[in-house]
Structure formats: C-alpha cells, structure tokens
C-alpha cells in the first residue's frame, strides 16, 4: 500500500496516542469485566463472617460489642460493594474516553494520510462460477435452516396449547386452596361436593333443590323467582311470590323474632337470598366485606374481605351519610354472589366466599355515592353505572368478569337500580335516569326503546306490572309507560313524588311512597288516585308486595303492613327496634330485615 506525502511528526504522534489508547482500552475492558463479575458474585450482607456474627448476636442479643461489630462489618461490606459498582461505572466512562481518543486519532490519520487505491491486480473474479456457488450455498443454508427449525420445533413442542385448553375447560376438582388468591375458577361444577372440602357440603343442605338450567351455567327464570336474588326481589320490581309471610312482630320484645345477628360493618344494601343463605355487604372508608348468613340460624357462615383488587383507587370515595360505602345490594344466580362498592370495586365470590374474580370499574363520579344495585340475567351480571363521566350500562360474564356488552347512555347520574321484566314477548332491562326511562335487551345491551319523561337526581327505581312501567322522581313526574315496540306515556301525575323509595305495582294498583312518609294508591291503568295515607315518619326503604299486602318500613324501623287494595286498610304495624334504610327480603314464612346494625329474621 502506497501512501501520500507523510506528515511524520504529527502522524507518528497520533499513531502513538492511538496505540496507547488501544492498550489502555483493552486493559480497562479486562478490569471492567473482572470487576463486574466480582460485583455480580458479591453478596455483602451474607458473607460467612457476617452470618457468624449475626448468629452470635441472636444467641446473645444484649451484647453491645457484637452489635457494634456487625455494624462495622456491614458498613465495610457495603462500602466495598458500592465502591466496586462505582469502579465499573467509572471504568465505563474511561473506556469510552479512551475509545473516543483512539477513533479520533485513527480518523485524523486517515484524513491526513490518504491511502492510494490498490493498483488493479489479477483477473476479475469469476462471476458465473461464483454465482452458481452462491446459489448452492443459499440452498444448503435454506435446507440447514429448515432442518434446524424443525428440530427446534420438535424438541420444544410440549402440547402447551392442549394443556392450557384442558386446564381452562376442566371443572374445578377442588375449591381455592389458596385463600384470597383467586387461583381457582368456580363454575357450576362447584355445586358438587368438593374433594377435601366437606364444609361446602355441610353449608348447602338444600343444594339438591338448587338445580341449574340443564346444560347451562345459570338458573332458569322460574328458579330465580323461587329465590330473592336481588334488590326488591326477582327482577328488582318489589314483588315476591313467597307465601306465609308474617304480619306481626316486635323487635323489642322479641315476638316472632327468630334470630338477630349483628353485621360487622355498616351498609345500606338490602339482603338477597339464595336457598337458605343470605348475602349482605358492609363497608367503611377503608374496609369492604361481604357476608353470608345462614337463614336458619343467623350464623355468619363466612366473611369475605374485598381487597387487593387491581386498579382499586387509594382515595376514599365521597359519599353522603344516607348512601354510605356499601349502598348497592348484591345479586346472585346461585353459583356466585356479586357485590359492588362505592369506590367501584366489583367482586364475584363463590358460594363459599372465595374470590372468583374481581375488578375495579373506576371510581364513580357520583356526589352522593354509588347506590345502583346489581342484577343478574342468566349468566350476565348487569351493572347500571350512570356516572358523571361516561354513563353506561354493562353486562359482564358472571363466570369470568369479562365484558359481554356495554352500552353508553346519554344520561345524568342516577342512583336507581335496574329492573328486569318479562313482558311475555321478551325480557326487558329497564333503567331510569334523567332524561329518560330506557329499555335494553339484557343479553346484548341493545337499546330497545327510550322515552324522555323524567328529570333530576333520580333515586327511585322502576315499578312494573301488566305491561306498564312506572317511573317517578322528586321535582319531576310520576309516569306510567306502556312498554313494547311502541312505548307511550299512559298517564302522568306530579301530586305525590318520591326521591328515594321506589313504587310497586299490581295489575290493578300502583303504590307510591314519598320519602316523607305518605303512601298513595293509584289505578295502574288510568292514574286515578284511590287513597293516600300519611304514616308520619320518613321512609327510605322501598315497599314490597307479598301475598296481597304492601310492606312499608319507615326510617325508624316500623313496618306498616297495608292491604294492596282500592281502599286503605292497615293490617299491622310492627316495630323492629332499630332504624332502617333497607328493603326487606322474603322466603316462605320469613322476612329478613336489615336494621342499622343488625339483621333480623322474622318468622311465625
């Protein structure tokens, strides 16, 4: 290689610098690698000397000298460790500098000392021969790659897909053995006696009656109606078909009080019942719990703490005293029980209180606190989440919590709960929030109809009977709407309105209760007022219709039992002995009332 005119002094100097830099870089490289390995291997807090000293100290905890020795050794070890780390970093910088110097010198030499091109030598390479060889090499490489990948695929294949599918589909053989972990998915198979968990058998003596819909993972509508699975009973319309309901009791004297159980945490949610188990929730600012109570004995069978939910906000939701942190009632389909709280935490528990899934729906933007109760249709959990931002109604898979559908709603915040009714032609999900009463398909979330007829901060839920939906709200209207393909307002009235209790209707009558304690009866079809009666006490609990009687409980806990008829007739007046905001739940022969602190079972 020939060179241009050499500039000896400068170039020689640059060459020397570059050689020096290269040697320095190599030495540094070796040192950095050695030091790095030392740092990686070092475990300064677990040296044999330290372990021996710690053991000594454990045997003689009062020995101040050993304690001091531990501290000294610990300090030394840490110093050594961090110094080594510092050395690696500083070495890195020095290495960079030396390489920069090396490159600069070499490039400077290249620029100052230009290489001449090589003189043409030899014959040009044999193009065609080379080309054939290139093709061969490509073919061989391709074949090699193919064989290698096939071999790799064969060696690493272990039917992972099948394993996952089998594991995902198999019925649980045992319940969650890892408390609170949510590691077991509970499907309908959990109705079977669990291996190694006899409690589940004992806890469900009536499990034989809990027949699920054949070949499905949800109960039939008939089965739902045999229970009290949600706020205001099956469908959430305030009607129960249970019979032999008590009409007389006294909480103070204990008359007809079968048992009374204190609920650990406060909550304004009402009891829901499946077979012989009652489900409630309670919450404070920092704690949320779900309770399962034996309907026969009043014993709390299990308490499930709702925590460790991903996305659960750390801040406390702003709620009013009347709403509290656990206002929404639970719901169940007999396989799992579902609860939602004021901070948006939503949980599904199996019937033994083990978490199946949980999620946070986002802190509700709701100035009084979220109070809309849950309801279940088939295996879809329906949530009315009418919040300030992004109001919506959604259906989640009861089994997995995954969203099945979600429908955005152009409404204001609502505190009402959804109602689910069978119109004879279809199942309709009915919701109430300013400005409308809207109807959805509970399976798909598709809006079927809506009618603008309500305004304000809607608290009362809807009533339904014989194809007529009744909506009401304070400072707005009482409206009777004929449902179906072409809904229309049949009649309206604004003489008596409610802002908390929900109305209840029979085929003939509508019973409305104002929150200041006046009950009013209307002709359901025509809107004619039949009677009104002032109980003298405010009412937050929603009236329930059972065996031709209307059960109305005021805030002081006094239950007024009136005949569901054209004329007012008081059948009973039964004090609970403590205040209540909650709506009663019913089984054959029993009423379950949640007071401010206790749950009561009333039976003859």
């Amino acid at each position: 290689m020939k060179t241009g005119k050499p500039q000896f002094n400068t170039i020689r100097l640059l060459e020397n610098i570059s050689i020096g830099s290269a040697v320095f870089a190599v030495v540094l490289c070796v040192l950095i690698i050695v030091n790095y390995i030392q740092v990686k291997r070092a475990d300064p807090l677990n040296t044999p000397a330290m372990s021996a000293l710690v053991e000594k100290l454990q045997n003689d905890p009062g020995n101040e000298q050993i304690r001091q020795e531990v501290r000294t050794l610990d300090l030394l070890a840490r110093k050594a460790f961090f110094t080594a780390q510092w050395q690696v970093r500083t070495g890195g910088y020095l290495l960079f500098i030396s390489i920069l110097l090396l490159v600069s010198c070499v490039k400077a030499i290249e620029l100052m000392q230009v290489k001449l091109p090589d003189a043409p030598y030899g014959k040009p390479a044999l193009f065609w021969e080379n080309r054939i060889l290139k093709r061969r090499w490509l073919v061989y490489s391709g074949a090699g790659l193919f064989v290698l990948t096939l071999l790799l695929a064969w060696l690493t294949h272990n039917d992972m897909g099948k394993d996952l599918e089998t594991a995902g589909n198999r019925e649980p053989q045992s319940v969650n053995r890892d408390a609170g972990s949510g590691i077991r998915d509970q499907g309908p198979g959990n109705q079977k006696p669990a291996a190694g968990n006899s409690d589940s058998v004992k806890a469900s003596p009536d499990s034989s009656s809990n027949i699920l819909h054949p070949a499905s993972d949800y109960p039939s509508w008939q089965e739902v109606k045999l229970n009290f699975p949600s706020f205001r009973g099956p469908g959430g319309i305030g009607i129960t078909e249970r019979t032999n309901i008590p009409t007389s009791w006294d909480g103070k004297s204990g008359k007809n009080i079968k048992w009374k159980t204190a609920i650990p945490l406060p909550g304004n949610n009402s009891p829901v019942i499946w077979n012989d188990r009652i489900y409630l929730s309670g919450a404070s600012e920092s704690k949320r719990e779900v309770y399962c109570i034996d309907a026969l004995s009043g014993k709390i069978l299990w308490t499930s703490t709702v925590d460790k939910i991903q996305g659960s906000p750390s801040q406390v939701p702003g709620v009013s005293k009347e709403t509290g942190f656990a206002a929404p009632s639970l719901t169940t389909e007999g396989i799992r029980v579902y609860a939602i709280f004021a901070n948006g935490d939503l949980i599904a528990l199996d019937m033994d209180g083990k978490k199946v899934w949980a999620k946070n729906l986002g802190m509700p933007a709701n100035h009084y606190g979220h109070s809309s109760s849950l309801i279940m249709y088939r295996n879809i959990l329906i949530i009315q989440y009418d919040q300030r931002s992004g109001p919506a109604v959604m259906g989640l898979s009861g089994k997995t919590g995954e969203q099945v559908w979600k429908t955005s709603r152009n409404v204001k915040i609502s505190w009402a709960s959804p109602a689910l009714v069978n119109t004879g032609k279809r199942m309709e999900l009915l919701l109430s929030a300013e400005p409308c009463v809207a109807c959805y398909d509970p399976l798909t979330g598709k809006e079927l109809w809506k009618l603008d007829c309500i305004s304000g901060e809607v608290g009362p839920s809807l009533a339904y009977a014989k194809g007529i939906v009744f909506s009401v709200n304070e400072y707005s209207n009482l409206s009777a709407i004929s449902t179906g393909e072409t809904p229309k307002v049949l009649w309206e009235n604004n003489e008596y309105l409610s802002d908390v209790p929900s109305p209840v209707a029979t085929d003939k009558y509508l019973f409305l209760l104002t929150s200041y304690g006046t009950a009013v009866c209307y002709d359901a079809a025509a809107g004619t007022k039949y009677w009104e009666h002032d109980f003298g006490n405010p009412v937050y609990s929603s009236p329930m219709l059972a065996e031709g009687r209307v059960y109305i409980m005021d805030k002081k806990g006094v239950m007024y039992i009136i005949k569901a008829g054209k004329e007012f007739s008081m059948l009973g007046q039964c004090p609970l002995g403590e205040g209540s905001f909650c709506t009663p739940a019913f089984t054959n022969g029993h009423i379950f009332l949640r007071g401010d602190k206790n749950l009561y079972c009333i039976g003859k």
Binding site: K5, F96, A125, W128, N130, K134, L138, T149, D185, G401
Partner: protein
C-alpha cells in the same frame, strides 16, 4: 499558501483535510473535558450518617415540539446527505455528516426513536388498533424509505447513528467473499420476520431489547449488551458495519426500496474507463463487477431451473410456513402472558398433586393480587398461542419466500460493462467516488 499534495484527482491531502484532522482531535478533547465535569446521576449512599432515600426521579415525557423537531432534523439531514452523496460526491463531508447524526440521533437523542425500531411500532399499530402510533414515529419509519426509493440508501450513509457509529471503527475492512455475504444476508430477513412477529402479537419489541448500541448512547448498557456491542465494534474493525449488513431488519426494507431508486449513487459521474481502481474500494462488498461473458449454463438449462424454482416457491413457502407454525410454542414462550399461564398451570398441578408449595414468584403474587382467574390467564395465553400459530405460518412463509427469491435472483441473466454499485447493498457512503479518476 501550501499546495495540495496531488496523488489522484480524488485523493488529495488538502489543507481542508488537515484542518479536519485537527478538528477531530479538538472535538474529542472538548468532549473529554465535558465528560470530566459530568456529575454522577445518583449520589453514592452514605451509611456513616443518617441516610435519606433519594427522591424518585421520573423523567418527563419529551415535548411534542421536540418530537417534531426531531422529524425536521431527520428530514433536513436526509436532504443534506442526499445532496452530499449525489451532487457533491464527497466522502469527506459524508463522514462529517455522519458524525453529526451520531451526536444528535445517537448520543443526544439516545438512539430513540430510530427508524429501525419504528418497524415494531408500525407492526403493532397494524395488528392492534388500540395502539396509537405517534406521527413522529411514522415519519421516522417512512422518511428514510421514501428517500431511498428516490436516491438510494443515503440514510445509511450518514443519518443512521448505528451505521455512523460502526463506520468509525472500520479501520481495516476486509472483503468477506461474495458467498459468505450471500448466506449471512439471510439473517436480516430472519430478524425482520421475528421483530414483526413479536411486535404484532404484542409480545415484545426485540429490536429495542437487543439493541447493541443504545446502551452505549445512554451510558447504561447491561453487561450482555455491552459485550454484544463490543464484539460488533471489534469485528467491525475488519468486517465493516456488521450490524448493518448482517443484522439490521430495516436494512431489508431499504435494500428492497433502493433497488427501485431512480437516482442512485454511481461510482463514476461519467463513463467508466475500466481502470479497476474502485474494484476493492468498497468495504461492504457492494460493487458489482462487469459481466460481459456468457453464463456457462445453457439457456434451456437455466429456463428449466427457473421453472423448477417457480414451482418450488409455493412449496418452500408452505414447508417453511409449517415449520414456523410448529415453533409457535417456542415463540410464545417469550410472551409474559404465556409465561404466567405456564407458571399458574405448574402451580395448579403441584396443588393437585398435593405437593408442598414453594414461595410464590413475583408473577404469581401479582396474578393473585390482580383478581384474575386461572381460566382468564389460560384463555389469554391460548389466544397468544393462536396468534403465534398464524404468525408462525406467516413468518416461516416469509423466510421460505425470501430464500427462494434470493436463489431465483441469482439465476437471472446479467450483462453489464461497467463497475457499478449494487443498488440493494450499497450504503451510498461515497468512498468509491474518491477512487474514481473520472471527475464531473
């Protein structure tokens, strides 16, 4: 005024070159002095007195304006480098341009976002519509390709910081041999296929994870990456730009587009005088020699081979696609969702067998706290596996097709009388122009 030492019309030690050499030394000295003043990012823990935890540092997101400034700098750099390569035909200025790019896109911008990595953002955005891709990323992906389509790989010449960095170390480049070049040329296709596969399935951005130079640009290389970069740079002393030639996935796209470039760098600005001075000037083996002789293979034999290959292409695509699909579990094993499902499944099996539980891993703890169910985890993992099954077919098919086309490309007839740059492989570094005695 000193006269320039004239060796050949393109090879002169001008005062400018001398000044440039001095500039190199001065610049490096300035950088060194700046580094000497640099302070440690975190103070060393002090254990002799009351130790207070340093406040957590959360880097602020880069301002939108700066992102667009980067796009502007990229565009301006591409314009300038294209002018330097095609009009000025100056290796000297291309070198300095590459130093600027190394400083700006490399050390100042810390190698992110880069056009190479942008492949993954684009892939993910194409397959996952919930992924929002910033306009600046699209610009970084498309601008070099557009310039290449018109002017060849000028981006590689002096804008890509990776290329510029490796170019600094090409002290003694040796010819690698055309056969080895061809075979090693399969690797970028593999890397591109894998990068798209992992990005499209939402598994990982492997180009970024295994980027050898970003750790150096940021002064925080892990040991493995430091070693990888060291090996690449050391080998780069003899095999110029090893990453660009035998790894770079973006290079595959640039190679394709560059083949169609209308105005590519030519060795000679006028007519080639067959002096052969440029024959060994390219450190990247990207100069195609004249081919004036006929192929020793007869035309009917070549036609027969071409026809056979045409028939074989679908077959190759299928068998490679099949092997790719069979690798679904291997590929999916990288995905965190699949890893978790495997761990949960193993845990579940241990529980079923009644074995004593080990301490939960962090992943299992996080899973337990998430509120997810086993079946959710399994179904997520199954979905990932299915994606990799389809992706494996596409990836394998792509590799099969690439090998078939590379082989087929070497069956086409060739006739050329001049020494020319190989449009696909040439980085437009303009070294060869210095060797050509013909000047415009």
């Amino acid at each position: 005024m000193p006269k320039p030492v004239c060796v050949s019309p393109g090879l002169t030690v001008t005062p400018l070159r001398k000044t440039a050499g001095t500039f190199m030394l001065t610049a490096s000295a300035t950088l060194l002095s700046t580094m000497a003043m640099a302070i440690q990012r975190f103070p060393k823990p002090e254990f002799e007195s009351a130790y207070t935890q340093p406040q957590t540092q959360i880097p602020l997101p880069r301002g939108e304006f700066l992102a667009y400034l980067d796009v502007f700098v990229l565009f301006a750099s591409l314009c300038l480098i294209t002018w330097l390569v095609l009009k000025k035909r100056s290796r000297f200025w291309v070198f300095f341009m590459s130093l600027f790019s190394l400083a700006y896109f490399g050390f100042y911008r810390e190698g992110c976002i880069c056009s190479i990595g942008a492949i993954q953002n684009v892939s993910l955005a194409l397959f996952d519509h919930s992924f929002v891709i910033p306009l600046s990323v699209i610009a970084f992906f498309l601008l070099p390709l557009v310039f290449t389509l018109f002017y060849g790989r000028t981006f590689c010449a002096g804008v890509c910081p990776f290329g510029a960095f490796q170019d600094l170390f090409a002290f003694k480049p040796q010819a690698l041999g055309s056969r080895l070049n061809t075979v090693l040329g399969i690797i970028p296709y593999l890397y591109l296929g894998l990068a798209v596969l992992f990005a499209a399935t939402g598994t990982d951005f492997i180009i970024c994870r295994y980027d050898p130079f970003v750790g150096i640009f940021r002064f925080n290389a892990s040991f493995g990456m430091f070693l990888f970069a060291g090996i690449l740079l050391l080998s780069g002393v003899f095999i110029a730009r090893p990453y660009c030639r035998f790894l770079c996935p973006y290079g595959v796209l640039l190679n394709w587009t560059s083949r169609f470039s209308r105005k590519h760098l030519s060795i000679t600005p006028k007519e080639c005088i067959q002096c052969r001075l440029c024959e060994h000037s390219c450190p990247y083996d990207a100069i195609d020699v004249p081919v004036t002789t006929k192929s020793p293979e007869t035309r009917p034999a070549m036609v027969k081979k071409m026809m056979m290959l045409t028939i074989l292409v679908p077959f190759l695509v299928l068998i490679f696609g099949y092997t790719g699909s069979r690798l679904q579990e291997t590929f999916a094993g990288v995905d965190s969702r699949v890893k978790l499902a495997k761990e949960v499944l193993a845990l579940s099996k241990m529980q079923d067998a009644g074995n004593k539980m080990q301490d939960d891993s962090y992943e299992i703890k996080a899973f337990k706290a998430s509120g997810k169910t086993e079946s959710q985890v399994y179904s997520e993992a199954s979905a990932v596996l299915k994606k990799f099954y389809v992706g494996g077919w596409l990836f394998g098919g792509f590799i099969g097709l690439a090998i078939a086309l590379m082989t087929g490309g070497r069956m086409l007839p060739v006739y050329r009388t001049d020494y020319v740059t190989n449009k696909g492989r040439c980085f437009s570094c303009a070294r060869c122009t210095d060797y050509c005695p013909v000047k415009s």
